[in-house]
């Protein structure tokens, strides 16, 4: 049994004009203990909604969830709000994109790290503070004993994101959801945080679901990648396989659209591959393949029949009628 098993997750929203936005529509994936899985896609593909759905942070209404999200065998969608609170920040925790607004400006760093510890693990005030210092040391904040008494505005953006990670890891979660953890940071600070995440992966051993649009970050941190498009999973593979032999035309387009550093040196500065057109509206039910409207290979078949996810190579699935199927060991 995997640590997290998401099956046929549907997260739909009622739009103000009465329509339905199918933000996530039939998503299945699993995460093993200690594994790092990245979910990539462009804005509006449903990757962030997926992460919010796992923690049941989607307000209902206007949202509505269907399918199942099994965490250690328990279906999170069937738990009461009380049981869910015992899981959030304890067994599953989350790092958000914006370190500025995710911290409470009127509480000290120590209080914010200690909050979860006192709530979930029943630590005393002094025990919680001692643990907070320990957590700050773990995430590489210098002078942690001094920093625990400081307020968020006294820290820089990079330091705040470290604090967010410390808060998320305080209760030794089994699963960490990182929603665009480095997007708001500068390149050199991003490098620091990515280094930290790689180190922590070894020392802490929590499984990580990394939500990002940055293929560079995916390549550096993830072991397995799920590519989402218009609320569906279109491809999933080990990170090396996905970058070397992408099977789905969307993934191919995405990889071709990103310029690579060093392109001017080996003379490969050529025109970027474009994916023409726009993401389809999620307010209409999509017939056939979700990518058909922008796919260079699309035929009538694609526009009529939605392709199922098929194993195209060992541990490499894609939802495309035309992607070549290699011999898959039975």
């Amino acid at each position: 049994m995997a640590l997290l098993e998401v099956e046929n997750l549907q997260t739909h929203f009622r739009t103000p004009d009465g329509g339905v936005n199918r933000a996530v529509d039939g998503l299945s994936f699993s995460v093993e203990a200690g594994e790092t899985v990245a979910i990539v896609g462009e804005s509006g593909c449903g990757k962030s909604v997926t992460s919010m759905s796992i923690l049941r942070l989607i307000p209902e209404p206007p949202g509505k969830l269907a399918g199942s999200i099994r965490f250690e065998g328990r279906d999170l969608l069937k738990l009461s709000e009380r049981e869910m609170r015992a899981i959030r920040g304890n067994e599953i925790s989350m790092i958000f994109q914006e370190p500025m607004t995710s911290l409470n400006p009127v509480l000290t760093i120590g209080q914010q790290i200690g909050e979860a510890l006192r709530l979930h693990q029943g630590l005393s005030k002094s025990q919680a503070e001692a643990k907070a210092v320990e957590m700050l040391t773990l995430v590489g904040i210098p002078a942690p004993a001094k920093r625990v008494k400081e307020y968020p505005h006294q820290l820089s953006g990079g330091m705040r994101q470290r604090v967010m990670i410390a808060i998320a890891l305080a209760c030794n979660p089994k699963l960490l959801i990182a929603d665009e953890p480095t997007t708001a940071l500068d390149v050199t600070i991003q490098a620091q945080i990515l280094d930290l995440m790689r180190d922590l992966k070894r020392t802490v051993g929590a499984a990580i679901v990394l939500i990002t649009h940055d293929l560079g970050v995916v390549a550096e941190v993830a072991e397995r990648v799920i590519v989402m498009y218009a609320g569906r999973k279109v491809e999933e593979a080990r990170v090396e396989d996905l970058f070397r032999t992408p099977k789905h035309p969307y993934t191919q387009g995405l990889l071709g659209a990103v310029p690579k550093l060093g392109s001017s040196l080996d003379g490969t500065t050529e025109r970027l591959a474009e994916i023409p057109g726009l993401v389809p509206s999620l307010k209409q039910k999509i017939q056939g393949c979700v990518f058909a409207s922008r796919c260079p290979y699309a035929t009538d078949l694609c526009r009529e029949v939605a392709p199922a996810l098929e194993e195209k190579a060992p541990r490499h699935v894609a939802a495309c009628h035309y992607a070549v199927k290699e011999a898959v060991a039975a």
Binding site: T188, I189, A191, V218, A219, L261
Partner: protein, 364 residues
């Protein structure tokens, strides 16, 4: 003009950075000399000035006709302030901005207005760059009317329609409102507006940073096509080094309000001559799993531009810093032809200089 290419001692003190502008023969389209922009910090009961933010503190560069110069650096380095100061969205504190031989930094608003036609601008956020209460037609007609480019209303309509063609949008979309378009389409409208005055230079202030990967590629390709078709010069302000490398001819790297290195693309990406450039390049995540790279992870954060460090501004984070860096501010000096870096390492003998290698050495 008989100025030599190297760091002649006689010039090293006078206008160190200005040498980068002075050594060429042909007149560049745009020259920026020792540009400064300091923002006063208001505080206290009487609203007095309690300090200065040294956002841009002596920046010198030039852009030739049809050339792309990129301004890169992290947030707060002053790259966007440079763009806004040369567009005169606020007056610069000091320095000169020379457009085609004419100084524009000290012109009155009225004298400047007709010259604004020659510089277009595209901002980062395609959602707040277009007035939500104006139709596309009116958005594009605004600069054409301001500069009196259209002979009559039929000519105006024709020009607007041509602009839509130029940015590959359907002509009949001119009657729609901005909110009816996606982010990428809005950015095309912004580009069309920037082109409406038939400019020689376009300032792209993080123009593709807010866009999704696939849309970003469309806009990057469009900008490159337009540059070729119209012979535009471009000031491409960005923090995304991979895009910059893809687009640019030359690059200027900024750190805390100063240019620390300015060089042609190949030299800068192949053999950076400033430790900050080196660290910046090594920090970019590359979409290649398992790519074996030596990463220089800078410690600490960017210091505050209110109280920048003495000596070299980068010395607090520089892995190679030595005593001189803490007291003595390095000036831009030419290391290889066309490549200028502000770093004391280049005064050391080559065997002691970790940045002495050339582009060919990197490739080998």
């Amino acid at each position: 003009m008989s100025m030599t290419m190297g760091t002649h001692p006689a010039h090293a003190n006078a206008h160190p950075a200005a040498q980068a502008n002075a050594h060429r023969g042909a007149r560049p389209l745009l020259e920026v000399n020792d540009l400064k922009k300091h923002f006063p910090i208001k505080g206290g009961f009487f609203g007095g000035t309690t300090g200065q933010v040294y956002a841009v503190d002596g920046v010198t560069f030039h852009i030739d006709k049809g050339e792309t110069l990129s301004l890169v650096g992290e947030s707060g380095c002053g790259k966007s302030t440079v763009g806004k100061a040369l567009l005169r969205l606020f007056p610069p504190t000091a320095g000169q901005v020379v457009l085609d031989g004419q100084r524009i930094d000290d012109l009155s608003a009225g004298k400047l207005r007709p010259l604004r036609r020659r510089i277009g601008v595209v901002f980062q956020d395609p959602f707040s760059s277009l007035n939500p209460r104006m139709r596309v037609k009116d958005l594009l007609a605004e600069p054409i009317r301001n500069f009196g480019l259209a002979k009559n209303s039929a000519d105006l309509d024709e020009r607007v329609a041509k602009l839509m063609d130029t940015v590959r949008l359907p002509r009949d979309a001119v009657n729609r409102w901005p909110h009816e378009f996606s982010g990428g389409q809005r950015q095309r409208i912004c580009i069309a507006r920037a082109l409406a005055g038939e400019p020689d230079l376009i300032v792209c202030d993080e123009a593709v940073s807010a866009l999704d990967v696939s849309v970003k590629a469309q806009i990057v390709n469009l900008l490159q096509d337009l540059q070729k078709e119209l012979g535009l010069a471009m000031l491409f302000i960005s923090h995304d080094l991979a895009i910059v490398e893809h687009m640019t001819h030359r690059v200027a790297v900024m750190y805390l309000g100063k240019i620390v290195e300015i060089a042609p693309r190949r030299e800068l990406f192949g053999a950076p001559k400033h430790p900050y450039t080196e660290a910046l390049l090594s920090a970019v995540p590359v979409p290649e799993p398992g790519a074996a790279r030596e990463r220089i992870v800078l410690t600490g954060d960017v210091p505050s531009p209110i109280n920048p460090p003495t000596g070299c501004r980068f010395h607090t984070r520089c892995p190679y810093a030595f005593d001189r860096c803490r007291s003595d501010e390095p000036k831009l000096q030419q290391t290889t032809p066309g490549q200028w870096a502000a770093c004391h390492l280049h005064d050391l003998p080559a065997e002691k200089n970790p940045l002495a290698r050339g582009v060919s050495a990197t490739l080998a």
